[in-house]
């Protein structure tokens, strides 16, 4: 994707005219820390931006996918003849038509592109139809006959644990696991604790529900298969397409079109291979677009987890030990499931000082949607669990919830769950700020006396989040920064823009380093034909990784510019500086050359004004059996949320009244974009806490559309105070580290904690729908209160 500079408005400064003299140093345009307006906002507000589903060319064919008719069945045969006979159908392709290896998957290549022997959930693809237009293709899809031998299904964690149930995969229904063994939690819980609290939590399946449903097009151009499709890691998608289609990588180019949200939901490959296959078979351009229904049925979801938490402490509130058991519904295929499970385990005790930790996490296959990446990535479910346990502990020992947290939060140099020591820890400050802003010490519980069924509550949460893939997984970003013939800075990165604003981050980092106006920087993203690999836009990693890569390249480019400048200017190298597209002498600012002059000089001497960079810090794998490592993640982010809710005790409705979200982002490169990330994450967290849930019955989604998959609207959103703290990260670009996932993570525990505060009981299944809250109240009425 190319982010175009607003044409006429940007001009490189002209060279000095004869007789003209500057005495003052050129001014560096504001970049770092400036809320520079998004360059893509204008085309978006006027409706000009073409997303994947908005692209088409003359003669383009259409591709539609035949999905499984059963959640678990052997395929005896596929009869495509009736579909092929429809006028306008160009071809119907099954697994045996896939020219390369008929497999894909992000971590394990365990899912057939087009299922040949077995379907394992309703979203499995069995065939693709290519026809002259969408309506013909969709009609023909209904005529593809698949002969199934229906198998009993695995539809829950309990089913998957039941050895008498049939295996979904040859290796059974256990996908993998992760342990943490720090100290001896079992003994400590037995011997060293005055108080033990237990909490069992079941979290739900969540759909990413980005608005821009999977759609795109592909065509052959000069023998290269060019695919316009939105993913989160174009280079990896190119590798998966190459594997499935048996093509060399250089014959594949993936270009990310402008993209309407992702949130982890585009990490698994979607339409790319189908499009490539259709183009290879027909030689024509081909388009595809899922419906919302198909998107929900076919795509991966957030992991439903069942978490058993035991937390032991001294009477004074000092936490001693935690024992955590996690069961994850991984769905039908691996997806990024094992990584999510490991992240869940590594965040099992959050930002708390817990000497003894014992975690067992189990991933289990079911005949439901694969579960994989989604904003929060396992850490958000655990945050609900540990915060609920801390609240329960506070209740048990009669201690203020904020005070109890303050007592147990780690400080600088202390360890998180994995024994990694964190040098910069701002969690105490985040907590204090959140508590202050919500008015914790003067909480007001009064409600309208005419409505005695209402109750108010306050919740608080603290959390941490390890940034990047971590865990020893190779994690790198490459960038290219150059000066073009107009003297303008260009940045190339394979990172994808899905709404978060990576292009602005790239522009502002490069502009800061090179002293130019950030709006003059041209950013080229996510095109495997022209941009270097940057890894995925996920794991809250792009600001840190690509920000560093861009900064490295920009720093080097600056050196190159100085070298060229020294050929023109009689200046001491140490006195050189850049600002406003000039290289100038700090001591005598009138001595200066424009970038344009440097371009001319470099051209005449055949010097390239282009630098490539590679940023790849290392992490250390945590063994499956212990989960311990001195550096599981590059760095940790901290934050605290607080909220105030109103609960209707007759209907169970929960209305958030106010949410405070405090985040230490290291450095806010663009504060307006950071606030946008925080506010957006909070509302997704609100959806997860209160309403969003993919309802499954016997492997079928009961609510595959927005009528029944309920998303928060503006009316459901209370005022959100996004508070940015900046403790510069020593390794981050200009001290920044990132903000993507934490705003979601902090929200559900704060809201659920507020419900607990209002009602004196905890909701143990998310989302806390009106019915679940009502049911909890009913059950509490039935039995005498526990002490």
């Amino acid at each position: 994707m190319t982010i175009q500079t607003p044409a006429a408005s940007i001009q490189a400064p002209a060279a000095l005219k004869p007789g003209e003299a500057h005495t003052a140093a050129p001014t560096k345009p504001a970049s770092m820390g400036a809320s520079v307006k998004r360059s893509d906002a204008r085309p978006k507000v006027i409706g000009e931006t073409r997303y994947g589903g908005d692209m088409w060319v003359p003669g383009m064919l259409w591709c539609s996918v035949v999905r499984a008719a059963h959640p678990h069945a052997n395929i005896r045969g596929v009869d495509t003849s009736a579909a092929e006979q429809i006028e306008g159908v160009v071809g119907v392709y099954t697994g045996k038509d896939v020219p390369g290896t008929n497999m894909h998957g992000l971590i394990r290549r365990d899912q057939e592109v087009l299922a040949t022997t077995k379907v394992r959930y309703m979203g499995d693809a069995v065939a693709v139809v290519v026809a002259k237009d969408r309506r013909t293709a969709e009609h023909a899809v209904g005529l593809v006959k698949v002969d199934y031998e229906v198998l009993p299904g695995i539809f829950s964690i309990d089913d998957a644990l039941d050895p008498s149930k049939p295996p979904i995969h040859d290796h059974g229904n256990r996908m993998g696991g992760q342990k943490i063994r720090k100290g001896d939690a079992l003994a400590a819980l037995e011997n060293d604790c005055d108080v033990i609290v237990e909490h069992t939590l079941e979290t739900q399946s969540v759909d990413h529900a980005f608005l821009d449903v999977e759609a795109g097009m592909a065509a052959l151009e000069d023998g290269v298969l060019v695919i316009h499709a939105a993913g989160q890691w174009v280079h990896e998608e190119a590798r998966l397409v190459a594997l499935a289609l048996g093509l060399p990588l250089e014959k594949i180019r993936i270009i990310q079109p402008p993209t309407g949200g992702a949130f982890g939901g585009r990490e698994d490959i979607s339409i790319q291979i189908y499009l490539g296959l259709a183009v290879l078979k027909t030689g024509k351009p081909v388009g595809i677009a899922y419906t919302r229904h198909e998107s929900m049925v076919a795509r991966h979801k957030r992991h439903p987890l069942r978490i058993h938490y035991r937390l032991g402490a001294k009477r004074d509130g000092t936490i001693v030990a935690a024992k955590v058991e996690i069961f994850a519904d991984e769905g039908a295929y691996a997806s990024t499931g094992i990584a999510v499970l490991r992240k869940a385990a590594s965040h099992a005790t959050g930002p708390y000082r817990v000497p003894h930790i014992h975690v067992d996490a189990h991933g289990l296959y079911t005949n439901q949607n694969p579960t994989g990446a989604m904003r929060g990535f396992g850490a958000c479910q655990l945050a609900i669990a540990y915060e609920a346990a801390i609240d329960k502990l506070a209740e048990a020992i009669g201690m203020d919830r904020v005070a109890l947290r303050r007592k147990n939060l780690i400080g600088a140099g202390e360890m998180v769950t994995t024994t990694q020591r964190i040098p910069v820890v701002s969690i105490q400050e985040c907590l204090d700020e959140a508590a202050r802003r919500i008015g914790w010490d003067n909480r007001d519980y009064t409600v309208d006396p005419a409505k005695p069924w209402l109750k108010k509550g306050y919740g608080i949460s603290t959390f941490c989040f390890g940034l990047g893939y971590g865990d020893g997984f190779p994690d790198a970003s490459r960038a290219k920064v150059r000066l073009n013939d107009e003297g303008l800075v260009e940045v190339y990165s394979g990172g994808v823009e899905v709404g978060q604003g990576i292009h602005m981050m790239c522009a502002q980092v490069a502009a800061e380093e090179l002293g130019v106006d950030p709006t003059s920087v041209q950013v080229f993203l996510a095109d495997t034909g022209i941009t270097p690999e940057a890894g995925s836009s996920s794991a809250t990693r792009q600001t840190f990784f690509t920000g560093n890569a861009v900064r490295l390249a920009a720093t080097e480019l600056k050196k190159v510019l100085y070298d060229v400048a020294l050929r023109i200017l009689p200046v001491h190298p140490e006195d050189l500086a850049v600002a406003d597209s000039f290289v100038y002498d700090r001591e005598e600012p009138a001595r200066r050359v424009t970038f344009l002059q440097l371009v001319a000089e470099a051209k005449s001497r055949n010097l390239p004004l282009e630098v490539k960079s590679h940023y790849q810090p290392n992490t250390v794998t945590a063994p499956t059996e212990t989960g311990l490592s001195p550096r599981v993640f590059i760095t940790y982010l901290f934050g605290a949320h607080a909220c105030e809710v109103l609960v209707d005790t007759e209907t169970g409705q929960v209305k958030p009244l106010r949410i405070v979200a405090v985040h230490d982002v290291g450095r806010a490169i663009n504060p307006q974009l950071v606030e946008g990330q925080i506010e957006g994450g909070v509302v997704q967290g609100l959806g997860m806490a209160l309403m969003e849930e993919v309802v499954m019955k016997d492997g079928q989604i009961m609510n595959p559309g927005f009528t029944d998959y309920i998303l928060p609207t503006i009316v459901d959103t209370p005022p959100i105070e996004a508070v940015i703290l900046e403790h510069l990260d020593p390794e981050g670009p200009f001290g920044a580290h990132g903000v993507g996932e934490p705003p979601l993570i902090g929200t559900p525990p704060a809201i659920l904690g507020a419900i607990h505060d209002a009602l004196g009981l905890q909701i143990t299944r998310t989302p806390a729908t009106p019915e679940r809250v009502w049911r909890a109240l009913m059950e509490a009425k039935k039995q005498p209160a526990k002490v």
């Binding site: 209907t651 169970g652 609510n703 009528t707 029944d708 309920i710 928060p712 609207t713 009106p770």
Partner: protein, 269 residues
């Protein structure tokens, strides 16, 4: 699918008689077109009412509010008929309320029909017309089952008649603050003679009147105490189902609470 666009009610009725049960009237499209977009096109023929201006009106005359069948929900929102105005405002987002019609809501006979339920609390009448005859009946008798009504294949809904002497109240319970499909909704109305009507959505196969509670109130009068008793009768009477939106016991209990709340409010005003 064949499309027809009559310019008068007479033409619409003639088409309906010719095309029979395979023809569907299209107004706002907030149900019919949703189904079509999901790949489930109803009927071979669609008779579009967007140019039949005779059906698009809202007027108050002789103590009756007369609502033309294609009057959009949005037009009811600002009216003084509380339950009706609030029910109309809760049908969906503004775009849906500008488009969806009262006749469509009633004609679909969805168990979750918000406006239909509110109309029951007013003890409204419905007017049906065929090419040859016009008849009027109680709306409560019009609803038979989910999607099934007393309409004949050659008839069209022309109007709803709403008594204007009814004080009313409305409560809709969904899964979010913004409008969403109801889990339970309740409407209560009290007319000038003190007669109380209680209606519920999403607790039965059709929008439901709770006559047992109404009869109790007719005998004992409406007070905060009888309001509570009416809620209990609701809990004893209705037989909601469990589906993917909510469980039966939840619907049962909250329907009772809502009715008590609404009646208490009406008893105090």
């Amino acid at each position: 699918m064949q499309f027809h666009q009559p310019k008068s009610l007479e033409d619409a009725l003639r088409l309906k008689r010719e095309l029979g049960t395979d023809a569907y009237f299209l107004a706002g499209g907030t149900d019919l077109v949703v189904l079509r977009n999901r790949g489930r096109v109803k009927g071979q023929h669609w008779i579009d009412l967007s140019r039949v201006s005779e059906l698009d009106y809202l007027e108050e005359r002789d103590g009756t509010l007369q609502i033309g069948a294609t009057c959009p929900h949005a037009r009811l929102e600002g009216t003084r008929f509380t339950a009706l105005a609030e029910a109309a405002a809760s049908v969906g987002g503004p775009q849906i309320r500008h488009r969806g019609t009262v006749g469509g809501n009633v004609g679909n006979a969805s168990p979750a029909g918000d406006v239909s339920t509110a109309l029951l609390a007013f003890d409204a009448d419905i007017e049906l017309r065929s090419a040859t005859a016009t008849r009027r009946m109680k709306l409560a008798e019009f609803f038979l089952a989910p999607g099934k009504t007393a309409i004949a294949p050659d008839e069209i809904i022309t109007a709803i008649f709403v008594p204007t002497d009814v004080r009313s109240a409305w409560f809709k319970l969904g899964k979010r603050e913004a409008t969403a499909i109801s889990v339970v909704a309740a409407a209560c109305g009290v007319n000038a003679a003190g007669k109380v009507h209680i209606a519920l959505a999403s607790v039965a196969p059709k929008p439901l009147r709770v006559t047992a509670a109404e009869e109790m109130l007719a005998q004992k009068g409406l007070t905060p105490e009888t309001a509570r008793a009416a809620g209990d009768i609701v809990r004893e009477t209705i037989k909601p189902i469990t589906d993917h939106r909510a469980s039966a016991d939840y619907r049962l209990d909250t329907a009772g609470s809502m009715v008590t709340r609404l009646l208490t409010q009406l008893s105090l005003n």
